[in-house]
């Protein structure tokens, strides 16, 4: 790891690679995940799922299942008249259990609760459901074709105040939302361009494979609901649960233990409403633990088809961009409308573009619902945008890094009117990546290098709170709604609290993700936690300190004693008192507590949206086996432009993890549908990266203090994923002379691109075949 720092030094331990606080629990097996929880009387649920991509439910016969020994409850939609079945934070169109018809293979139709999971599974096999098959569409183009089957006969209820209301436009019965981003006069800019690059790019539907499958435990007690879940957004889940079960927010408690992977796939609500409904009917606490096969049938990333035109002047300056994006969003809205909005916002990348017009439609299809997935529209559109920059560089004879230098937004410059200026120095980032990659060094034959960028309006909404409680012994409890999903929030946020309170790290205890015990946070996603929860904790710590200083003045100072705040406490006259002593003095004994509150909203530093930009900067060196089409990535470089690395080891961990996930998507990952059926819905056939797939990795962390967060911090964790596919495509354009526009770059697709290249070369050489490169 290389660190490049031009920011002031923050108070320790902020900025230090302290060991993760969850380390001991996780290396000894003691860490408790939702799937590890047990409780007296716990019953177990299994789900009967739709075998049809689209069908009307004619009848459900549950008699045999109900009669099976050990079965506690068998639940269909008809058994839940007292429950609001439709949930969804943007559009409430998703039934927690199928009502009337099914819209994808794998949709839950019946829930079975039994004394143990095997008995539940046995009983589930005894349920018989009669369906009438309906016409279906399993990709966006098919869903928009003349006469296509309509998934939702009427639009779902739009939920208010989500920030993208204007995007919920049903321009076609199968269009869920349509987002437009535009400025300038695109047509005349393109007409005057020296070069217009045009193309269609495809990004697949992907599965995040969080290794802990979706699972939850629900328990009812005197009309109040407690749910333990493997989710990223406990407060969003609470809201959906309160709405489904007609409860006040205060009567729903959502607790998130350690989470076995998220990557966006555990954003928002998944299995929690169904689990709670089953527990309600069973009259027992119920666990619903999905298998990985069932998790694949629960949420995926949105696939994309992007038609893009970019106009350049003869110096390689971008004049205009015009794009149409179709997102394949699956059977229900979930979070796809927001993914669509972000795809439209992110298509421009971190570049100065005088005119732009992007329309992005999210389309309902009879497939697993698409929703949040790390990168959130950015990997999809970055593939298109960055590929076109290198195509232009080649055609204009300009070095592709130089072409980017000419176009990147300069610090503070806004991509479009009213938006926060870019809070990164991308020219400097490009130089760092070029150095690490060895941009100018000689290359082995067939190898190519590329550097690609991305820019994401990140952070979601700044609606975040925290409480800092200073105890009588000087130890501190920080409560926050941010979830530890492996990214290290429990370490980083404790570092911020310790730094702000001036106490050793081991004085700080963090309590996270229990909606009845900690105060509100919107979500754990969009790379927002370090930045936004960090600010809320900083604000709460400052509130606590100002109270404590006032208390010291009131209780410890006499006469004209000067009270001076210092790290970890106050100096009163010539005596130093720790925070605990101040608490005790003010309460007049050995007990008491100071409570600092931190609120973050759209005001002050976080008024202009987005709260920060997350930029990605990735370099690769790659080559291809001409005989098989298999790609080899030899070196992978990331520049983590994070403003201030509160914990550099964890920043690097995010960058490498994101980049390797991006590598998996670029080369192998794709949910393959044939005739309405998912062909690789298991970990055997859906291949994620393995240890031997990892190239030499080099990480650079750039810290220029230019973020809105504490000491100039801003988020990371997605940026290093977004440009990977484009960087590989561009490296192979330069190294092997092939065009790759459809992710994943499977060996067969690459092999075909090689043949395409050879045909083109052969035609260019007057019909003589070019020998020796693609032979067997």
């Amino acid at each position: 790891m290389k660190r490049v720092t031009t920011r002031p030094t923050p108070p320790a331990p902020i900025g230090e690679a302290v060991p993760r606080r969850d380390a001991l629990a996780k290396v000894t097996g003691a860490a408790q995940f939702t799937v590890d929880l047990g409780m007296p009387g716990l019953a177990h649920a299994k789900v009967v799922r739709s075998p049809y991509p689209h069908a009307r439910i004619l009848s459900i016969d549950t008699a045999a299942a109900r009669a099976h020994p050990g079965v506690i409850a068998v639940v269909t939609a008809a058994d839940l008249p007292d429950v609001e079945l439709l949930y969804g934070h943007s559009i409430a169109d998703h039934p927690l259990i199928a009502t009337g018809k099914v819209r994808f293979i794998g949709e839950p139709v019946v829930g079975v609760v039994a004394e143990d999971p095997v008995t539940a599974e046995e009983a589930a096999r005894l349920v018989s459901v009669e369906y009438e098959a309906l016409a279906y569409a399993t990709d966006a183009e098919a869903a928009l074709a003349e006469g296509a089957a309509i998934l939702h006969e009427k639009p779902g209820e739009q939920r208010p105040h989500r920030g993208f209301e204007e995007d919920i436009r049903r321009t076609h019965p199968n269009v869920c939302s349509q987002s437009r981003q535009h400025w300038g006069d695109v047509e005349s800019a393109l007409a005057g361009a020296a070069l217009v690059v045009e193309g269609e790019y495809r990004y697949p539907r992907c599965y995040a494979y969080a290794m802990e499958p979706y699972n939850a435990v629900a328990s009812w007690d005197r009309g109040e609901l407690t749910v333990w879940t493997s989710g990223q957004h406990p407060y969003m889940v609470r809201e959906d649960l309160a709405r489904c079960f007609h409860l006040p927010l205060a009567s729903v408690r959502v607790i998130v233990p350690y989470v076995g992977g998220g990557y966006g796939s555990k954003s928002y609500t998944k299995v929690e409403p169904l689990t709670a409904a089953l527990a309600l009917r069973a009259g027992r606490p119920v666990r619903l633990a999905l298998s990985i096969e069932e998790s694949i049938l629960t949420t995926r990333g949105d696939g994309a088809t992007i038609r893009l035109r970019t106009g350049f002047d003869s110096d390689g300056r971008i004049l205009a961009r015009e794009a149409t994006i179709l997102l394949d969003s699956g059977a229900y809205a979930e979070n796809s409308p927001l993914v669509g909005r972000k795809a439209a916002n992110r298509l421009g990348g971190p570049y100065r573009i005088p005119a732009l017009d992007v329309t992005c439609s999210t389309v309902y299809t009879n497939t697993v619902p698409g929703s949040s997935f790390r990168g959130f529209g950015a990997p999809q559109v970055t593939l298109a945008g960055e590929t076109q920059l290198d195509e232009a560089a080649e055609r204009l004879g300009i070095d592709p890094v130089e072409l980017r230098r000419r176009n990147v937004l300069r610090p503070g410059e806004s991509a479009w009117p009213g938006v926060r200026g870019i809070d990164a120095d991308l020219v400097a980032d490009l130089d760092l990546a070029a150095d690490e990659l060895g941009w100018a060094a000689p290359l082995p034959p067939g190898h190519g290098r590329a550097i690609c960028l991305s820019a994401s309006d990140a952070g979601s909404e700044p609606v975040t709170t925290s409480v800092v409680r200073v105890h009588a012994d000087g130890s501190i409890t920080v409560t926050c709604g941010s979830t530890e999903i492996g990214q290290g929030s429990s370490t980083v946020l404790a570092q911020i609290a310790a730094g702000e309170m001036g106490v050793p790290l081991d004085h700080v205890h963090l309590l996270q993700s229990d909606t009845s015990a900690v105060s509100f946070d919107r979500s754990t996603g969009a790379s927002r936690t370090t930045t936004l929860m960090g600010l809320a904790i900083q604000s709460a710590a400052r509130d606590a300190r100002s109270q404590l200083v006032a208390w010291a003045r009131e209780s410890l100072a006499t006469g004209d004693d000067e009270v001076v705040e210092m790290p970890g406490g106050v100096r009163v006259g010539d005596k130093v008192h720790g925070w605990g002593a101040v608490v005790k003095a003010w309460f007049g004994g050995a007990m008491g507590e100071a409570i600092g509150r931190g609120y973050l909203r759209r005001a002050g530093a976080t008024e202009v949206m987005p709260p920060f930009w997350e930029v990605g900067c990735v370099g690769v060196e790659a080559s291809v086996d001409e005989a098989t089409g298999e790609i080899a990535v030899h070196r992978l470089v990331t520049v983590g432009d994070v403003g201030c690395a509160v914990n550099p080891q964890l920043v690097e961990a995010q960058d490498v993890g994101a980049a390797i996930m991006g590598l998996g998507m670029a080369l192998r990952e794709e949910l393959v549908y044939e005739d309405g059926t998912l062909m690789n819905g298991n970990l055997f056939d859906y291949r994620v990266p393995r240890a031997p797939d990892v190239p030499e990795f080099r990480s650079v962390i750039a810290e220029r203090g230019d973020g809105v967060g504490v000491y100039g911090a801003k988020g990371g964790g997605e940026g290093s994923l977004n440009p990977v596919a484009a960087a590989i495509s561009n490296a192979l354009r330069r190294g092997a002379g092939i065009e790759l526009r459809e992710v994943p770059f499977t060996p067969e697709r690459v092999w075909k691109a090689i043949q395409e290249r050879d045909r083109a070369r052969s035609a260019a050489h007057g019909g003589h075949a070019v020998q020796g490169e693609a032979g067997t």
């Binding site: 802990e212 240890a691 190239p695 990795f697």
Partner: protein, 175 residues
């Protein structure tokens, strides 16, 4: 009443006699009957390695290994790695290198690494990479895991440290 069988096995050095159904996997017995929830089940298809435990020293997928097959054998799980509260070298190396994030693969990864190092105490980087090929981590990108296992190897104390700094001489590129 379902058929039950008695098995006698050692789990982390402790003799156990259990009455179980033949259908129960070792993962189910460890987690549900013995409360050893450190062993995780993810893919449930012997692909991901999250449920890796050692049976008579050999790595097995506890998700698909019948508990009756452990009858008369010695089973080791992540809970048995530390002795008297002192982390095993491979655990300590995982802490030092931050070789985990969410932690769901970690138990299996540690057991796979343990089997690897017991079989080959001085592996090369390539041998570590190959040895962990069957264990998936979705968070870390494997880089810190490989470094941790090398650091925990017998060579890791001295020569391994230098090798880690050098970077990967054997990285054959993405396949």
């Amino acid at each position: 009443m379902h058929e039950l069988v008695t098995i006698e096995l050692s789990v982390n050095g402790v003799a156990r006699s259990l009455l179980i159904e033949p259908r129960e996997t070792l993962a189910e017995v460890l987690r549900d009957r013995l409360g050893l929830t450190g062993t995780k089940v993810s893919c449930d298809a012997q692909v991901c390695g999250a449920c890796t435990v050692l049976v008579d020293g050999l790595a097995m997928s506890a998700c698909t290994y019948l508990a009756v097959d452990a009858d008369g054998r010695a089973v080791r799980t992540v809970e048995g790695l530390a002795t008297d509260g002192v982390l095993a070298p491979v655990q300590q190396a995982f802490v030092d290198k931050a070789a985990f994030q969410c932690g769901f693969c970690t138990s299996g990864m540690l057991m796979a690494a343990t089997a690897l190092l017991e079989d080959n105490p001085t592996p090369t980087r390539e041998e570590v990479v190959r040895g962990l090929e069957g264990n998936i981590c979705r968070c870390t990108g494997y880089v810190p895991i490989v470094e941790a296992v090398l650091a925990a190897s017998r060579a890791g104390d001295a020569a391994g440290a230098a090798r880690i700094e050098q970077g990967s001489e054997n990285s054959g590129g993405a396949r």
